[in-house]
């Protein structure tokens, strides 16, 4: 039992950090770049995606033995699209401002490759508990990275974080951060940074292993 718990945790952490969908798997790039002009957008988008991911992972995992292999893709699409529609309608009703600023990226969660990729490569092969953990880990990993990206973009693009003024009053916002080029370049630079950190950690780990040996 302990063993199983262990793998569930590992699956969760795997999604959150080791195989972070944004920085390692490079999945779901469109919303990552499209909505991250403000930190609140990042969190909103991340949580909406997480919800869909968790639900679809769970359902697909439960139904994995029932769905015939031939029609699995349309079946997955229908399942994912239903949850997306639910989120979309829910947000339109209760979070109209957020819904407006996320715009068409909410319905486009359907084609977010993270969800599809996890359904196909994980949920279809694993049990519901594992799939749930995977969905949660991946979803939160996605949320964390796009929130980070949106914090950076908001800070330079508007001088604020979550709407609160951070930069001194004299700071002149760098408008390009709110535009398409800003998104691409910031993510690119962050990726370089993440890769560099990973490399350093990897080196340290190797050194430690060597020291132990």
């Amino acid at each position: 039992m302990a063993d199983r718990k262990n793998t569930v945790t590992r699956t969760f952490l795997n999604g959150l950090i080791t195989e972070n969908p944004t920085f390692t798997l490079m999945l779901g790039m469109c919303p990552t770049l499209g909505v991250t002009t403000a930190a609140s957008n990042g969190i909103g988008m991340g949580l909406a995606t997480t919800f869909v991911l968790v639900c679809s992972n769970l359902f697909i995992s439960l139904l994995r033995k029932i769905i015939p292999d031939k029609v699995r893709i349309p079946a997955y699409i229908v399942i994912i699209a239903s949850f997306v529609t639910m989120v979309d309608l829910f947000m339109k009703a209760y979070l109209p401002d957020l819904s407006k600023s996320l715009g068409s990226y909410i319905p486009l969660i359907v084609v977010n490759c993270i969800i599809f990729a996890r359904a196909e490569s994980f949920a279809a092969k694993n049990g519901p508990v594992q799939s749930l953990a995977d969905g949660l880990g991946m979803g939160l990993g996605f949320t964390a990275s796009i929130t980070l990206l949106s914090i950076v973009r908001e800070l330079f693009g508007s001088g604020t974080i979550f709407g609160a003024q951070i930069m001194p009053e004299s700071y002149q916002p760098m408008d390009i951060m709110n535009k398409v080029p800003g998104g691409f370049i910031t993510l690119g630079l962050m990726m370089i940074l993440v890769n560099a950190i990973k490399k350093i950690i990897g080196k340290r780990r190797a050194a430690r292993k060597e020291a132990l040996a």
């Binding site: 490079m26 999945l27 779901g28 790039m29 469109c30 990552t32 770049l33 499209g34 893709i73 349309p74 699409i77 229908v78 699209a81 239903s82 997306v84 529609t85 979309d88 309608l89 068409s104 319905p107 486009l108 359907v110 084609v111 977010n112 490759c113 599809f116 390009i176 535009k179 398409v180 080029p181 800003g182 998104g183 691409f184 370049i185 993510l187 690119g188 630079l189 990726m191 370089i192 890769n195 560099a196």
Partner: protein, 205 residues
């Protein structure tokens, strides 16, 4: 005629789905290592988007709106696209094996290309770029076609740059996605000059 010109320039240069709006980034980054594959992908996408624009317009106006099922748009459209991709793949396999050989590998990737869904949805809901006016069937299809050409343009341009960058002294850690992202960012700067072009064109028109 002017409508079509505005759609053409608007979809390709001004509101380019990739360079100005962040759609279809995954294939944009994923299939842009070689100019030839980028062209293949672009052609496949153009094919599917044009067809999808046509069919989704029909679905929207003859099924969803009359039955007041607009809230099912996402599900309906993504199904249409998934089925369409399947049909196109099978049809190509039978009708034109040579074209299938050229485009076949890219087709399955298109289902999850958000440009396709985004274009279909924007075409029927936001009336694309025509001052809130809903586009007719022909204009809508043309709009989809131009959007796809815009996608192809961005894809091929990035592929050209990435091929050239192989000849440069780019550091190791820039290779792959980080480099591609920054290249895309700089490309997007070049596309920004077209902002406001539309109003100008309208003025002349």
């Amino acid at each position: 005629m002017n409508t079509f010109l505005v759609i053409l320039i608007g979809q390709i240069l001004i509101n380019n789905y990739v360079m100005c709006q962040f759609y279809g980034i995954c294939p944009f980054l994923g299939v842009s290592k070689k100019v030839d594959t980028a062209l293949g992908m672009g052609m496949a996408v153009t094919f599917v988007i044009t067809l999808a624009s046509f069919i989704t317009w029909l679905v929207q106006n003859f099924i969803l709106v009359p039955l007041e099922l607009e809230y099912l748009q996402t599900i309906a459209f993504i199904l249409v696209i998934a089925v369409l991709v399947q049909v196109v793949e099978n049809a190509l396999k039978k009708l034109s094996p040579s074209l299938y050989q050229a485009l076949g590998v890219y087709l399955p990737l298109i289902t999850t290309n958000c440009v396709v869904l985004a274009v279909a949805q924007k075409n029927v809901t936001e009336g694309a770029i025509m001052d809130g006016q809903t586009l007719g069937l022909l204009a809508s299809t043309f709009c989809g076609f131009c959007a796809a050409i815009g996608f192809t343009l961005a894809l091929v341009l990035l592929a050209g740059i990435r091929e050239r960058m192989e000849q440069s002294n780019m550091p190791k850690w820039m290779e792959g996605f980080p480099g591609a992202l920054i290249m895309a960012g700089l490309m997007a700067i070049a596309f920004m000059g077209f902002g406001g072009l539309l109003q100008g064109l309208h003025l002349v028109g």
